[in-house]
């Protein structure tokens, strides 16, 4: 029994009574303790987890197991959990205990999952390295000196390290796909509106989408089936019926030149090997162009920052969250609570958004960005007249070292390959497809709206032919002895 096994394998172990849900939960909690230096969790919900595991064992004994009964999982700390604090990686919410569960949380609990705790993340999901977290960054289990990616870095790292078999995440501009690629796990951002945003702390409401990390595409599909569906509490969630987990056979896979040209040679070679494997599985490859790709990062930072500046106006030090002490008047209370409660990156985004929305700039920035957004989406719609799915890199490089990217704009450009699908509301995923310098490489698959079944199906086919998704870091050795061992290997 270990959390490197798939959901399907763990479920079999539980139903065959090879181990109990309490034993599995306690095993995972012990792994979380042993790996505390990875800083994957902001809050470990030990007592709640053991109580839920006991209930799962009782359900199994009664023959009433649901699809996830007894399976441990972790929630990104952006999802509200009644009774367990939800910090969003911020000092602003460091003591916030939500009075209700997010829809994603209640759906997964109803399916029987055992929540072990809340995972580390960039503050308010703004970041690509986990370094903006008020609680310090989570670390990449493949090399603790490197970033796990962000913003859902704690979730990706926890699955990669085998602390949990699966975890939730959210993706606004790449916050599921990029950490999935950096940590070597499978991660899906569903179509905008596929999963309810109710109880998910808002960053950019026209982009935010909940999704999942797991060992492989089949497990992600299992989670999506439970998480998806219209929610009367989120009027932007759609009612399009359940995901069909299949696609046309064979598929035509488009390779956009704007993503593949100028890639680092070694990175490009790993990714091309993955597309050739898909070709060997019977699918056709074709190149295509998405001409407005280069404007995506620029337009995204207008739209996401504008929406963030509006969404984060709710933090006022009055109704919930951090409050600065001893303010003289109400404006000082607002200003100082926000100045002390928010970190530097969050302030930059609020100021950028306020700039883009202010009088004299609104047309030139906000409306122009929305026009560019339409062109970027139209590029994809045109492409999907010719191809069934699109394959692309997730990141320009493998996981970088913590502290290596200090300029905010350099950090923003890390998401150049994930942002276009976000602006277009398209489902997109990352699957492990190779190693470079002992670090994982991820391939991105993008599908038309509501066709996440196509890319999950394609990824499952790839994963039946390869074993990249089954590789995991050896976290029993620390960085020092790892370097020593590598030195010994070289001799």
């Amino acid at each position: 029994m270990n959390a490197h096994e798939s959901i399907a394998e763990l479920r079999r172990g539980l139903l065959d009574k090879r181990y109990s849900a309490v034993e599995l939960t306690e095993h995972c909690l012990a792994e979380i303790d042993t790996s505390a230096s990875l800083n994957c969790f902001i809050t470990v919900a030990r007592d709640e987890a053991v109580a839920a595991a006991k209930a799962a064992d009782a359900a199994i004994a009664r023959g009433e197991a649901g699809p996830l009964t007894g399976v441990p999982l972790a929630h990104k700390d952006v999802f509200c959990t009644e009774g367990v604090r939800t910090t969003c990686g911020s000092r602003m919410l460091a003591n916030f205990i939500a009075p209700y569960d997010a829809t994603v949380v209640s759906k997964l609990a109803a399916a029987g999952a055992v929540c072990l705790g809340k995972t580390n993340m960039d503050e308010f999901a703004m970041g690509s390295s986990n370094e903006t977290s008020w609680f310090g960054p989570a670390r990449n289990p493949w090399d603790p000196e490197r970033a796990p990616g962000g913003s859902s870095g704690g979730s990706a790292a926890a699955v990669s390290a085998g602390l949990v078999p699966c975890a939730t995440g959210t993706d606004t501009g790449g916050s599921i796909r990029q950490p999935a690629a950096f940590c070597g796990v499978t991660g899906l951002k569903p179509t905008y509106g596929r999963v309810s945003r109710y109880g998910m702390v808002a960053f950019a409401s026209s982009l935010d989408q909940g999704g999942a990390f797991a060992r492989d595409a089949d497990d992600v599909a299992t989670l999506l089936k439970i998480m998806e569906g219209h929610d009367p509490r989120d009027s932007t969630s759609t009612d399009t019926g359940p995901t069909a987990f299949r696609g046309p056979e064979p598929m035509t896979i488009g390779l956009p030149a704007e993503y593949w040209d100028n890639l680092d040679a070694a990175m490009g070679a790993r990714l091309e090997a993955a597309t050739r494997e898909l070709e060997a599985a019977g699918h056709a490859l074709t190149t295509l162009s998405l001409p407005h790709t280069r404007a995506a990062v620029s337009a995204y930072y207008v739209i996401a920052s504008a929406e963030a500046s509006a969404n984060l106006s709710r933090y006022d030090g009055v109704r919930f969250g951090y409050r600065a002490e001893a303010s003289e008047d109400i404006d000082e209370l607002y200003r100082r609570s926000r100045a002390e409660g928010f970190g530097a990156e969050v302030k930059r985004r609020i100021l950028t958004g306020t700039y883009a929305l202010s009088i004299g700039y609104y047309d030139a920035y906000y409306l122009q960005a929305q026009r560019v957004r339409r062109l970027i989406r139209q590029d994809f719609l045109d492409a999907f007249n010719r191809v069934d799915v699109i394959a692309a890199p997730v990141t320009p490089s493998v996981a970088f070292e913590l502290g290596a990217v200090t300029d905010p704009v350099d950090m923003y450009r890390q998401d150049a390959f994930t942002i276009p699908a976000s602006l277009s509301g398209l489902p997109a995923m990352s699957m492990p497809c190779g190693m470079l310098d002992r670090l994982p490489v991820g391939l991105q698959l993008i599908a038309p709206h509501f066709e996440e079944g196509r890319i999950l199906n394609l990824a499952a086919q790839y994963q039946r032919r390869t074993d990249w998704h089954r590789r995991h870091p050896d976290i029993s050795i620390d960085a020092g002895s790892r370097a020593e061992r590598e030195g010994a290997d070289a001799v």
């Binding site: 026209s206 009027s235 990062v297 337009a299 109704r319 609020i350 950028t352 306020t354």
Partner: protein, 93 residues
């Protein structure tokens, strides 16, 4: 972006920057403005602004009561309350 613009944006955003924060913030924001200026050069022709990625209408629910306000629960997480009110510094004399 100059210091004056930054001060105005901070005021509009109800944020306070310390004197030490102003310099680095200004440098960062000017680089970000250069980034967001890139997309201004795109010829968008007659493309209409896209606010919602699915370009669909939002469904309306039936106008029936579904939630009730539980003041005590909601105020448990407030920094300061008394007798069901939120406490703030004096607003009117």
């Amino acid at each position: 972006m100059d210091r004056e613009t930054l001060a105005r944006l901070a005021r509009l955003s109800q944020l306070e920057l310390t004197p030490e924060e102003v310099g680095p913030a200004l440098a960062d924001l000017n680089r970000i403005v250069a980034l967001i200026d890139e997309m201004r050069a795109i010829d968008t022709g007659d493309a209409a602004p896209l606010a919602h990625p699915l370009d669909t209408d939002q469904p309306l629910r039936d106008d029936i009561v579904t939630e009730s306000v539980d003041r005590e629960t909601y105020q448990e997480i407030a920094p300061a309350t008394r007798d069901g009110f939120y406490l703030v510094p004096k607003v009117v004399e």
